[in-house]
Amino acid sequence: MKILIVEDEEALAKVLEENLKKEGFKTKIAENGEEAIKAASSFSPDLMILDLILPKKDGLTVLSELKSNPELKAIPVIVLSNLEGEESIRKSLSLGAADYFVKTQHPLKEVVEKVKTFFIK
């Protein structure tokens, strides 16, 4: 099971990656929006964890490009952001994000548990 972590903050990406690896997931980190789109094709993840504020291409753009690409749109996306406004939550969900987490409001464990639910079914 492969997970693509799109996160420009190295420390956050790393702790997320380690916690996911421990659960048995294969992971890859993309540090910006452009890399995220490329990796979505080359790495073909089963799930994407996506930050919103990113260099080169922001998260919402990545999300909309992904969802309008017939080959990539099936990849479920969990948005993991510092933005907690209803506006960005609504936009993300309407663009097709499967869930939305505010980094500071949720323990890492909750995020990992959420990821696991995608692979139980």
Binding site: E9, A11, L12, V15, L16, E18, N19, K22, N82, L83, E84, G85, E86, E87, R90, K103, T104, Q105, P107, L108, K109
Partner: protein, 488 residues
């Protein structure tokens, strides 16, 4: 026949003399006559009153003795000139001069002078009015007018329909309309219409129907189209029967203050967002360490790490509060109602507070009545309950009680959160919803509090049309009552 006529004339003359006397004596103005030499020959009651001399003291004295020294020379020269047939500068005119009273003080007077002749002799009669009061009034009026004209606040006077009667220089300057352009037109049409209808409705309700001053902040438009922010206070001026005579509006330009405020708030917003990344890094690493995933930790290591984690959590909450405040103050606090299960929100918050609840051994009672999910802004409900519940925990006593009651009815949601804690001192009760205000006992119990929580509660409630109030007894506990409409 001739005799008769003569006698009749005498009689009539006598009658008319009497009439004249009566008139002169009852006049409220001083009536003083002098002969050509300027010696007083007639002095009425009012002259006595104004100058303080009895008639017997005055008659025979020269006129100049009721004049201040500085006028005397001109008076004597003038009389001489007129008596020699020269130019009459004062006769037939009304002038304002000063008189000299018996007691040596001066009195401002208005003087009308007439010259007349009888049997070849010339006489002068002066009608003199004491204008002390009038002068005082004029001076007062001038003073007030100067103050209003030159005030740096914008002052506008309108009639009861809002038609401009006056605006001062500052108002001309800020609105861009000159007095000539503005007077006679509706203030609302000239520079208004920038706020929503509700605002103006509330304003007119207050000043015209409740007849009370309206105080608020408003956006107006200059003649050039540019907008400005102003702090205004409009007061109705009422007549004897309590009808609105006119309105006085005093405005102060606060555009610059608003800009500074906005810049400050934007800075807080930006800084808070920037703070969140390191805060989540600390939080997640501490969490990973605490879980033992990075190796087993000793008891003290765990204890210290828990402190780090908790403090970090506190900082996260503070940043959240700051962000909420900057959203409220920037007007970007979005309200998005969606179907929300309020008890679920309560449970969520209680589980976050579980550690502190257990530490204080608190008993939490929950009463939910006829509560199907309702359409409200989940975020707002969360903010309100989070603040009230965490206060109920924080300011409770060990072994105390917390009661959460939620019910629905008549299109409204009612929430009551009560505790058996330290209570709010009476002296603080009127201020606890103020930003950054903290009650004295709250500062003692929890020195780290921010004084932001209840302010946020009040402000977010305002945005969903809700209200809050509380009952409290120091040492016994507090109950907060929240009401807000569902489906907004």
């Amino acid at each position: 026949m001739f005799w008769n006529i003569k006698n009749k004339n005498k009689e009539e003359l006598w009658k008319s003399e009497n009439k004249y006397r009566a008139l002169v004596e009852s006049a409220t103005d001083a009536i003083i006559s002098s002969d050509a030499a300027g010696n007083i020959v007639d002095w009425n009651k009012s002259a006595e009153k104004i100058f303080g001399y009895k008639s017997e003291e005055a008659i025979g004295k020269p006129l100049f003795f009721i004049m201040p020294e500085r006028f005397r020379e001109a008076h004597l020269k003038g009389m001489e000139r007129v008596n020699l047939g020269g130019e009459r500068r004062v006769i037939g005119k009304t002038i304002e001069v000063s008189g000299l009273r018996k007691n040596g003080t001066e009195v401002p007077i208005e003087l009308s002078l007439a010259a007349w002749e009888e049997k070849g002799k010339r006489f002068y009669t002066a009608i003199i009015r004491d204008i002390t009061e009038r002068k005082q009034k004029t001076e007062d009026f001038e003073k007030f007018k100067l103050a209003v004209d030159n005030s740096t606040e914008h002052i506008i006077i309108s009639d009861s329909e809002g038609i401009v009667l006056y605006l001062n220089e500052a108002a001309e300057k800020i609105t861009g309309f000159s007095r000539e352009e503005a007077v006679g037109k509706k203030a609302g049409v000239l520079w208004g219409k920038q706020m929503n209808l509700e605002f103006y409705k509330a304003m007119w309700q207050k000043i015209k129907y409740e007849k009370k001053p309206f105080i608020g902040e408003i956006i107006n438009k200059r003649k050039s189209g540019q907008k400005y922010a102003a702090a205004i206070s409009i007061s109705p001026i009422l007549d004897e029967v309590k009808n609105v005579k006119f309105f006085v509006g005093i405005e102060r330009d606060i555009t610059r203050e608003k800009e500074i405020d906005k810049a400050k708030t934007e800075f807080v917003s930006l800084a808070s967002h920037q703070l969140r990344t390191p805060l989540s890094i600390i939080s997640w690493y501490a969490e990973t360490l605490l879980s033992g995933d990075a190796g087993k930790l000793g008891k003290r290591q765990l204890e210290y790490l828990r402190e780090i984690y908790d403090s970090n959590k506190r900082m996260i909450n503070l940043v959240s509060s700051l962000l909420n405040i900057s959203r409220i103050e920037l007007g970007t606090f979005a309200i998005e109602p969606k179907i929300t299960d309020i008890p679920e929100v309560v449970e969520d918050i209680l589980s976050e507070l579980n550690l502190q609840i257990k530490k204080k051994n608190l008993d939490v009672e929950k009463i939910y009545e006829s509560l199907s999910p309702v359409k409200v802004d989940r975020n707002v409900v969360r903010i309100i309950l989070q603040n009230l519940l965490s206060n109920a925990v924080k300011y409770n006593k060990t072994g105390g009680k917390i009661k959460v009651e939620i019910k629905k009815g008549g299109g409204s949601i009612f929430i009551r959160v009560s505790d058996t804690g330290h209570g709010i001192p009476l002296a603080s009760s009127s201020r606890i919803f103020e930003k950054l205000y903290r009650a004295d006992n709250a500062k003692e119990i929890d020195p780290d509090g921010t004084g932001l929580g209840l302010y946020i509660v009040k402000e977010v409630l305002k945005r969903i049309g809700g209200e809050t109030r509380f009952e409290s007894e120091e040492g016994k506990g507090t109950a907060f009552y929240i009401t807000f409409p569902e489906n907004i």
